[in-house]
């Protein structure tokens, strides 16, 4: 089954966890929760605005985690935190990972911690039972790609394009080759993210990898004031596109021991 991981900026609206539950109802396999950072250098305009809006509301790591704990009984799918190094290292990665785990989060993505700087965080995440998901880029050399594939946990995040996050007219030409190269070096699922903007693009990406991350296309709608119901329909559209791909490709790739983020 192709995996669908939609993204949601934590605390973007007072009722933000309603979006999380809507994503779940629409068939998300896991949800990536953005812990907003003041200086998100890998993010384009949409996620920057979403982060700013949340921070202007006065949200903190604690308030976002408390909101998640409050809906915990209703959440059946894995939650993955996505944030930047400074928040992770502020009180030490050990403390940070324990806080995440305490709120029921089981994965972590930190785009400005490349594999070379990941050592201490990797150990802290493992100790707290958190999967540290590493990113690979189109420019990543083969030896680094193998190392990323070996050290990543849960899945490998394939950054589809040499750019920041943000909607694009078409799936980048670099997406499929990167996914193929990754699948040669790892047994983990390969999820493609950055710039995947429409169900059609998601289907194209899913044919090359094991699933997709959708962020800016959804957060733009939330910023425009769309309701949780609107977003449920939006995510359902992506789900249907991926399910269609599954029907084209009935023999799924087997990932026996790493099924944590799969349906």
């Amino acid at each position: 089954m192709k995996q669908l991981n939609p993204y949601l900026t934590g605390g973007i609206t007072p009722d933000w966890t309603d979006y999380l539950l809507a994503y779940q109802e629409a068939g998300a396999d896991a949800v990536e929760i953005g812990l907003p950072f003041s200086d998100p250098m890998m993010d384009g305009a949409t996620i920057q605005q979403a982060s700013d809006q949340a921070l202007r509301r006065g949200v903190t790591i604690d308030s976002i985690l408390a909101d998640l704990v409050a809906v915990r009984a209703h959440v059946r799918i894995p939650l993955i935190a996505m944030t930047y190094a400074n928040l992770v290292f502020r009180d030490g990665p050990e403390t940070f990972c324990r806080r995440l785990a305490g709120a029921g989060i089981s994965g972590l993505i930190v785009p400005d911690v490349p594999v070379d700087e990941a050592g201490r965080l990797e150990a802290a995440a493992t100790a707290a039972g958190i999967d540290l998901i590493l990113l690979a880029a189109p420019v990543t050399a083969p030896d680094r790609l193998a190392e990323i594939g070996r050290r990543s946990r849960g899945f490998v995040y394939a950054v589809s394009v040499m750019d920041t996050t943000g909607e694009r007219d078409a799936l980048a030409a670099t997406a499929a080759p990167l996914a193929r190269r990754l699948r040669e070096v790892t047994e983990l699922p390969v999820l493609i993210g950055f710039g995947i903007s429409t169900p059609g693009q998601a289907a194209a990406a899913a044919r090359a990898g094991d699933g997709v991350v959708i962020a800016s296309a959804l957060m733009r709608r939330v910023l425009e004031g769309a309701s949780p119901d609107d977003l449920r329909a939006e995510v359902a559209g992506f789900r249907a596109a991926l399910d269609q791909v599954d029907q084209e490709m009935p023999v799924a790739r087997a990932h026996p021991e790493v099924s944590g983020y799969r349906r």
Partner: protein
Amino acid sequence: MGSPTEAGRFGEFGGRYVPESLVPACAALEAAFRQAWADPAFHQQLSRLRTEYAGRPTALTPALNLSADLGVTLLLKREDLAHTGSHKINNVLGQALLAQRMGKTRLIAETGAGQHGVATATAAALFGMRATVYMGERDIERQRLNVFRMELLGAEVIPVTSGSRTLKDATNEAMRAWVAAVDDAHFCLGSVGGPHPYPWLVRELQRVIGEEARAQTPTVPDVVVACVGGGSNAAGTFAGFVDTDARLIGVEAAGGAAMTNGSPGVVHGYRSMVLQDADGQVLEAESIAAGLDYPGIGPEHAHLGTTGRAEYRTVDDAEVLAAVVRLARSEGIICALESAHAVAWVLRAAGTPDLPTGSTVLLTLSGRGDKDMAALAGEIR
């Protein structure tokens, strides 16, 4: 000041906290720098540009009137006399040469006060490269003259409207642009921050300030002082004196004092001292000097500060304005608001235990004040 560790660390600070997309570019720059720095031909080219183009060596001017008034011997290292009006040209000429060796055709830069942007635009014109300079909207308003200079030189100046609309956000935006243009563009970073190898590379290119000053001073001064935002003129100056008994003093803007008021954090690709809240959200700095209006500081400064080899002080905007006027009227030198921070500390400290009467002080005057005339006109009669 020697090389950082292989991982780009000065003690616990530095490193390379960048997205995977930028790791190969940082590694390629490091390799190119190591190769160039070991190549006599590169040093010949750089040395020739420094003398024939940038006007080096810059003068060492004894500030005779102020010295007499203050009871200290104050020597000014005149980076304000370098081409484009500040020390920023030292770094940019070296990076443009490196970019050329790497086959890059375009320079991307961030700028605060606009001095680094002007230097980048200048080097791009000279080397026949395109230049794109990211500058906060607020800095564009207060340093309009430099925006015009950049555009006259053929650079594209892109206003940054996010966050604080100053150097912090201009740096974010320049790094984002670099991700999308990494094949043909070199990120010409202006200070001793950023991911490895920038803090080391920029300090080595600014080392010329300290080495010249050391050769120009008959004896080692008691105190060496420079202003610090990211800290490139201070790093270059300190590099000439770190192996002596001279006290090294970096002067921060009171509203942007990462070393004095910050705590360890990771921003813009490096770990250093950062102004931040309890969660790690980076705070907005607030200084009259756009070049020091920055919530971080180069990682080597954080190392020099925590090990005690260098000391960091702060001065406030009012002291800075008074220092601009005092230096102008006593020596006939109008310095940049940034550089005036170092002057302001000397004015305050002279005759106190921090700078006893009879001391010899070397002060790097990092730039000239022409760019600040519009801002100063409202503040000073």
